[in-house]
């Protein structure tokens, strides 16, 4: 929470200074909206890379000298970088480079989403896990001395052949290696009800513990891989980049359809339906960033990433702002009612997010107190995201394209 407030303050300061630079008086056209989307995507992926690169330097420092301090610094850098990657999820499901499987059609397609953010993680496939009786089980790749730890061998194990397979890389693998399992263990009651605590992995896992050297190697490899994948995404979206160039050549209807299909689906299908609702129904640990207890912040990043496209504005890591023609502005030129509806639904979504964050509880605790029909804060956020998805689909129809939001 502190971090968000900090960002907001910086943003307010920056916004006050930069109002004059905004082209809000531009006549809203579809072409300008599409161009602004590309500017936002490029800036967001650039931030995702640079903040993750900072994380890498912290992880490198931790691996060079594992101490409580360097460990904590690496964890904090993960949490910070995650905010920027989380916002880029709005650019998924948009026929873009991140998750398009059709390798032949457009230059710059990477299809690395599975390597970057696949979930749930088969944590026992990577390293030791609790046996729920106070001991540990080591069946993972780190404990298998016969498995040569190389980038190629680990990629080979991750979502092999593009199947939803063993998840061995990406944000959540690094998260697991930094935090360990979040068992919510309460040492006083011996119950699993201590939601305030995240994963309790100690830095000694990288010094004196079994397989410490192999654990170091593994963390180093998956961190480097993530950085390389994010760098590829940044480069392909940058001006002159392969995908940016291909995107600029798309006809207007195709570009609009891709953009809106992305935010519509991510809002309704992915976040509301696939991430929040199953977590509410299926238990406390069916949450995205379960090891670090960062799922609230994932929600913040995902909701804001979608909102960035709707309002046509993105706040960069350095505090500057990218803004231009918004989705609501181009819709308003055709149908004020439909546009206002999206504005309302987007605002409601932000309000429900704020209400969830204001609880000051971890996501696992929040969902432990909810059911699908109890209308708690997580379900209310899910419902708001669903309605926002429907509103985006209506906007798409108004703009002359059809999208799929479930």
């Amino acid at each position: 929470m502190k971090k968000i407030l900090g960002l907001c303050l910086v943003a307010i300061a920056m916004t006050s200074c930069s109002d004059d630079n905004e082209n809000i008086k531009d006549t809203p056209t579809k072409a300008k909206f599409i161009e602004n989307y590309a500017n936002i995507a490029a800036a967001n992926y650039d931030d995702a890379y640079t903040t993750a690169a900072t994380m890498k330097t912290k992880i490198d420092a931790f691996l060079a000298t594992p101490t409580e301090e360097t460990h904590k610094a690496a964890q904090n850098a993960w949490l910070y970088a995650r905010d920027f990657y989380g916002q880029t999820e709005a650019f998924r499901a948009a026929n873009g480079p991140i998750d398009n499987e059709d390798l032949g059609s457009i230059d710059g397609i990477l299809n690395t989403e599975g390597r970057i953010n696949a979930w749930p993680l088969d944590e026992g496939f990577i390293d030791y896990v609790s046996d729920n009786k106070g001991g540990a089980v080591q069946n993972g790749l780190i404990g298998d001395a016969n498995f040569a730890l190389t980038e190629a061998s680990i990629i080979g194990k991750n979502e092999f052949n593009n199947l939803a397979d063993n998840v061995a890389t990406g944000w959540h693998a690094i998260e697991f290696l930094l935090w360990g399992q979040d068992l919510n263990y309460n040492p006083t009651t011996h119950k699993q009800d201590n939601y305030a605590a995240a994963g309790q992995r100690g830095y000694t896992d990288y010094t004196t513990a079994n397989f410490a050297e192999r654990r170091k190697q593994y963390l180093q490899i998956v961190t480097n891989l993530l950085i390389n994948d994010l760098n590829d995404l940044r480069n392909t979206w940058a001006i002159g980049g392969l995908y940016r160039t291909a995107f600029a050549k798309l006809n207007e209807a195709t570009a609009l359809k891709n953009i809106l299909n992305g935010v519509g689906f991510i809002s309704n299908g992915e976040i509301a339906l696939e991430r929040i609702i199953p977590a509410v129904e299926e238990g406390q640990e069916n949450e995205h960033s379960c090891f670090s207890d960062n799922t609230n912040q994932d929600m913040w990043a995902n909701v804001n990433g979608i909102n960035n496209v709707i309002i046509g504005s993105y706040k960069r890591a350095d505090g500057t702002k990218i803004s231009g023609v918004s989705l609501t502005a181009i819709t308003k030129t055709l149908n004020i009612e439909i546009s206002t509806n999206l504005e309302t639904k987007a605002q409601t979504t932000l309000n429900k997010l704020d209400a969830l964050l204001a609880l000051n509880k971890t996501f696992d605790e929040i969902i432990s107190q909810e059911t699908l029909t109890s209308n708690g804060p997580a379900i209310q956020l899910s419902n708001a995201l669903k309605s926002q998805g429907v509103a985006i689909a209506e906007v798409a129809t108004t703009l002359g394209v059809s999208i799929t939001i479930d």
Partner: protein, 469 residues
């Protein structure tokens, strides 16, 4: 051809009587109102390839759509080995074929055959048996059971690997153009739990998952209406129902799902896939699939406290709703002249005798919205002798080694968009729809031969029609 001439004569008479004979168009070329909606008003638009097969019927309630989302997540996400923090996704294995439903049915679509030895499967598995009982079904191998699991949890050996060798068969159309069919020969190698020599095998591809709730809702009587086991109408096509073990009802009931109609209900089909393909237990199939010589009671399983199966009934009901709710995409290009001509060829060639396009659903216990809906699955869900070349020579309840269930053709033309391939038939041998037609033998022999007599243009029109489904 006789029928055709007769028909044209009638048309001619009719046209002569009509006044505006300059707008003459044979009636069978015409678009029939609503024919693009294969499940009536519950059909969906296929805007995006990756979601063309994965969208629910439009009338789900808010709570149902939540269940749909939960089922969708369960379908797409990988299951993990126990113990794990993701308590609702653990219990995988000990031996398995895939970690997620979506691994064999990517985007709710169709699996792929193995194209080279050692390649990881994207939806092909091999069934095993040492015999068959018409009342209890195929008799599994003593050690390997009824299905070969080619993957395992860390620390355990997978059962074996799959080897493939292709042979090629050349053929000629009446117009002199030639074609080539590719026949795979799958064998099992590197058996880790003893030799499988002499065991009956049947390779099978994961099918696309559209419209399953509608099939589940078909009454036994509506399926039997098309059955003609003794070919009393002498059209060369018999068609008989399979009766298979229904675990919940504890008796034999009509089979509807699977390549040999060997599963009676959607729930049992899903529970069977959980158990055989992923090593997950349910109340329908509560026994862990355990390799020989391994004491599975000593391994971790995914049972949560107070539960005795890895996918408890409540969780199972969500994926069951998801499966039942997946709708069928509307047809495309249904008014194009070539497609309409292709529709006529489809009828003339008697394809429609087995690929039946006219059913009305009965009652569905999961989703009442799909009760009493007119549907066009293009299947009779009956068993037909498809000839020796396609045979797996492995009996399955009443199905013999030559018999296969008619495949529903709805969604056929979207497989390429959804899955990036056009491999068809039970083992994925056909590389496209044309090859699939050419593999038809047995009861379909005369239809296939008539197809080979058609001109290239006519053959193309038929393919365009099939691709529009």
């Amino acid at each position: 051809m006789k029928n055709n001439i007769f028909f044209i004569t009638i048309l001619f008479i009719l046209i002569s009587c009509s006044k505006d004979d300059d707008v003459y168009k044979p009636v069978e070329f015409e678009y029939e109102l609503g024919e693009e909606n294969l499940v009536s008003e519950l059909s969906i638009e296929a805007f995006n390839a990756d979601k063309a097969f994965g969208r629910g019927i439009p009338s789900l309630s808010n709570l149902q759509s939540s269940f749909f989302g939960i089922g969708d997540a369960m379908f797409n996400q990988s299951w993990v080995s126990s113990p794990a923090t993701t308590t609702s996704r653990d219990g995988l294995g000990p031996i398995f074929n895939a970690r997620a439903c979506s691994a064999c049915h990517l985007n709710d679509g169709r699996g792929e055959p193995i194209l080279e030895t050692g390649a990881s499967s994207k939806g092909l598995l091999i069934r095993l048996s040492t015999g068959n009982s018409v009342t209890t079904g195929p008799i599994g191998h003593g050690t390997y059971g009824g299905q070969l699991q080619d993957r395992s949890n860390l620390g355990l050996k997978k059962e074996a690997s799959i080897q493939v060798v292709f042979s090629y068969i050349k053929g000629t159309y009446a117009d002199g153009s030639t074609y080539e069919l590719r026949k795979p020969n799958y064998t099992i190698i590197n058996e880790n739990y003893g030799s499988l020599v002499g065991v009956q095998t049947s390779p099978r591809i994961g099918q696309q998952l559209i419209g399953l709730g509608f099939i589940d809702a078909l009454s036994e009587a509506s399926i039997l209406e098309n059955a003609d086991p003794n070919d009393t109408n002498n059209d060369g096509i018999s068609g008989r129902a399979n009766y298979v073990w229904n675990v919940k009802k504890d008796k034999l009931t009509i089979g509807k799902f699977g390549w040999k109609s060997n599963q009676p209900t959607l729930n049992q089909q899903v529970a069977g896939a959980f158990n055989g393909d992923m090593g997950l237990t349910t109340s329908i199939f509560p026994d862990e699939n355990c390799p020989d010589g391994v004491d599975c009671s000593q391994l971790f399983n995914g049972n949560n406290p107070g539960e005795n199966v890895e996918v408890p009934d409540k969780q199972f009901s969500r994926i069951a709703l998801y499966m039942a709710a997946i709708s069928v995409p509307k047809r495309r290009n249904y008014k194009e002249e070539a497609v309409l001509k292709g529709k006529k060829h489809f009828r003339d060639l008697k394809c429609v005798s087995c690929h039946v396009d006219n059913f009305t659903t009965g009652a569905n216990e999961i989703l009442s919205q799909i009760n009493n809906i007119k549907i066009s699955p293009f299947s009779d869900f009956l068993l037909h002798d498809m000839g020796d070349e396609l045979a797996d020579n492995r009996a399955d309840f009443l199905a013999n080694g030559n018999e296969w269930r008619t495949q529903p053709l709805w969604g056929l033309g979207l497989i390429e968009a959804v899955n990036g391939h056009t491999f068809l038939l039970h083992d994925g041998r056909a590389r496209n729809i044309e090859e699939a037609i050419l593999w038809h033998n047995g009861e379909a022999e005369s239809s296939k031969e008539s197809f080979k007599q058609k001109t290239k243009t006519e053959r193309e029109e038929l393919l365009q029609y099939l691709n529009s489904l």
